[in-house]
């Protein structure tokens, strides 16, 4: 796909967790907690990408498609109400075509004061194999579509279905985006080396992503809730020394199922009542980091 494949992507310097400059979050909170609902649209009959199959079955993949459709008919509102109840705004990983297909969902998120970043056009259109002009086209489409639908300018990127090219991060920095959710090397924001402009990695998570919890680790709803609480407790404790970030990445069609939403609500209640969490949007975390910590961390980067 790229011309030369690198063994080390060269995106950041090695910076061990020990003896780093101290991160201090607003109000002296120990862990910045952000919730990332993936508001997605999967096409029922997408064209084939030569580098990755979309549905595993001949189209229509009824269970695959309709399971995800549950988000946009039922579970988005269930998840969103639970978040609002405990004071958690969302930072939305958005298939931007959802703005056309189901503007009601996007409007609901916008009215709750949620932030949007791009997760590509559809979660069934992959960046693998795109040339630079094509990749620019999906970034420009994302910026334009979200602006027209919500009035917001996207500040972050999570590659569609986590499909990248070696130029993706340089391009989003060139377009002025502030953060990427595609790198999993740290529990704190980190500077990312890009050709122009500046970029940070915003800790997202595969490990405590609801998709991993339920479909990789096969957890019960209560086990997943317990996992999130353990993740929170540990990061809050370590945040005494230097502020940490905890992301809770969600998909409404998973977390908003009737057997899961109740235990999940207990997690949000726990974090909201604990007092050590800075409950924030990804953009607020990025702002604080850029203002107070980026320069020191990027020294030599």
């Amino acid at each position: 796909m790229g011309d030369i494949q690198k063994a080390d992507p060269g995106l950041y310097d090695f910076a061990p967790y020990r003896d780093r400059p101290k991160i201090v979050w607003p109000g002296g909170r120990k862990v910045a907690v952000w919730v990332a609902p993936n508001l997605e649209y999967y096409e029922i009959d997408p064209p084939a990408n030569p580098h990755r199959k979309s549905w595993t079955k001949p189209h229509p993949d009824v269970v695959g498609y309709s399971h995800r459709d549950h988000s946009n008919r039922v579970s988005h509102w269930r998840m969103a109400e639970m978040m609002s109840k405990y004071g958690f705004p969302g930072s939305v990983s958005l298939s931007v075509a959802l703005c056309q297909h189901h503007p009601e969902v996007v409007r609901d998120a916008n009215e709750r004061g949620w932030e949007f970043f791009s997760h590509g056009i559809y979660n069934t259109r992959y960046a693998y194999g795109m040339d630079e002009a094509q990749e620019r086209a999906i970034i420009e489409d994302s910026i334009r579509t979200v602006r027209e639908a919500t009035g917001q300018t996207i500040r972050g990127w999570l590659a569609p279905a986590l499909t990248h090219t070696p130029r993706t991060l340089d391009l989003i920095a060139e377009y002025g985006l502030d953060y990427t959710c595609d790198l999993y090397h740290d529990d704190q924001p980190q500077p990312v080396k890009v050709k122009s402009g500046r970029l940070i990695s915003m800790p997202y998570s595969l490990e405590v992503n609801d998709h991993y919890g339920f479909f990789v680790y096969n957890m019960s709803p209560r086990d997943y809730a317990d996992t999130l609480i353990r993740q929170y407790e540990r990061l809050a404790e370590e945040g005494e020394a230097s502020g940490t970030v905890m992301c809770i990445p969600l998909h409404a069609y998973l977390i908003g199922q009737p057997h899961r939403i109740g235990p999940f609500g207990e997690v949000l209640r726990h974090i909201a009542q604990d007092g050590r969490a800075w409950i924030a949007r990804a953009g607020e975390i990025a702002d604080h980091y850029y203002q107070h910590h980026y320069a020191e961390a990027a020294h030599g980067a």
Partner: protein, 304 residues
């Protein structure tokens, strides 16, 4: 190197779905549904009753639970038969004890091979839903339309000839449909199918067929066989789901809790006790209305 320029064309990027099978709506914007007797949560027990030929045909794909070893796979053939001979009767007894009615999604081959099972289902007042011919009767878009039409007809005829009644409902194996399935099911005179899991209330296809979602996430296959959780955890999850739905129903109208049960999974001696306990707990809830699929569809249709 670039992708075909058509990969960045989005001809169905428009308001609503990228297909015309059914229209969009949010469950929270619809007129609230009321179930009979002032109940708020319809508990729908749906049992899959299946016959797996020891000769899988894989046309178009192999059903979940089908044969796995080289021929002859006595292991899986007989373990599935255990479900029909022993497990299913444990379930019938459990339903009788709890005083509840279920839907039984039944392969046509069950009627042909074991007509007495059909009589036992009917004697207890349960509904029979058509569930293809046998477990080689899978459907996908690679199945020619004429073959799919014939498969649906064979299933319905086998069940009707033994039960004396044409089923109103259809469940595809693995909930797998082709582009033609909604059309062919309506053509065959079926009232509803259970394959699309996108909602928690019935809804109507553009062609008039109703879909009653049979949530695969709540099935014993998903929770016990795929996710490898215990029967006790399964029962706890169903109670959590019921509690949530009962609370939501108070503000938004009636809800459905579908329990999809497989005899060779749930009705093993070491699991059936947890399931019986679940039935007792749900039957004791004042919000619960145990109903068959067809009863749920009828109550819902009357309010549309």
């Amino acid at each position: 190197m670039a992708l075909d320029p058509a990969y960045l064309d989005y001809p169905r990027r428009r308001e609503g779905y990228d297909h015309d099978l059914y229209p969009w709506s949010s469950i929270f914007d619809r007129k609230p549904v009321r179930w009979p007797g002032g109940k708020s949560v319809a508990v729908w027990l749906c049992v899959s009753l299946e016959w797996f030929p020891m000769t899988p045909s894989d046309t178009p794909f192999r059903a979940p639970g089908h044969m796995q070893t080289s021929y002859p796979d006595y292991r899986h053939y007989t373990a599935r038969e255990y479900g029909t001979r022993v497990g299913f009767y444990r379930l019938l007894d459990a339903f009788r004890k709890a005083g509840v009615k279920a839907s039984v999604a039944t392969n046509g081959a069950i009627a042909e091979r074991y007509p007495s099972v059909i009589a036992d289902i009917l004697a207890d007042g349960h509904e029979i839903i058509a569930h293809s011919t046998d477990m080689n009767g899978t459907i996908a878009s690679t199945l020619p339309e004429e073959e799919e039409r014939a498969l649906i007809a064979r299933s319905l005829e086998a069940l009707e000839s033994v039960s004396g009644r044409r089923p109103a409902g259809w469940l595809s194996i693995a909930r797998s449909q082709s582009w033609n399935t909604p059309k062919l099911l309506a053509e065959a005179g079926l009232r509803y199918c259970c394959d699309w899991v996108n909602d928690e209330l019935p809804w109507r296809f553009a062609n008039g067929l109703v879909n009653l979602p049979l949530n695969h996430e709540l099935s014993d296959r998903q929770i016990i066989t795929v996710q490898q959780q215990s029967a006790d955890s399964y029962a706890e999850q169903m109670i959590d789901a019921f509690d949530w739905l009962a609370a939501e129903a108070a503000d938004h109208g009636g809800r459905v809790l579908p329990l999809h049960i497989t005899p060779y999974i749930m009705a093993l001696p070491y699991r059936i006790g947890a399931f019986e306990g679940l039935l007792r707990a749900l039957a004791a809830r004042p919000e619960a209305w145990f109903a068959t699929g067809e009863e749920i569809i009828s109550a819902w249709e009357g309010q549309q």
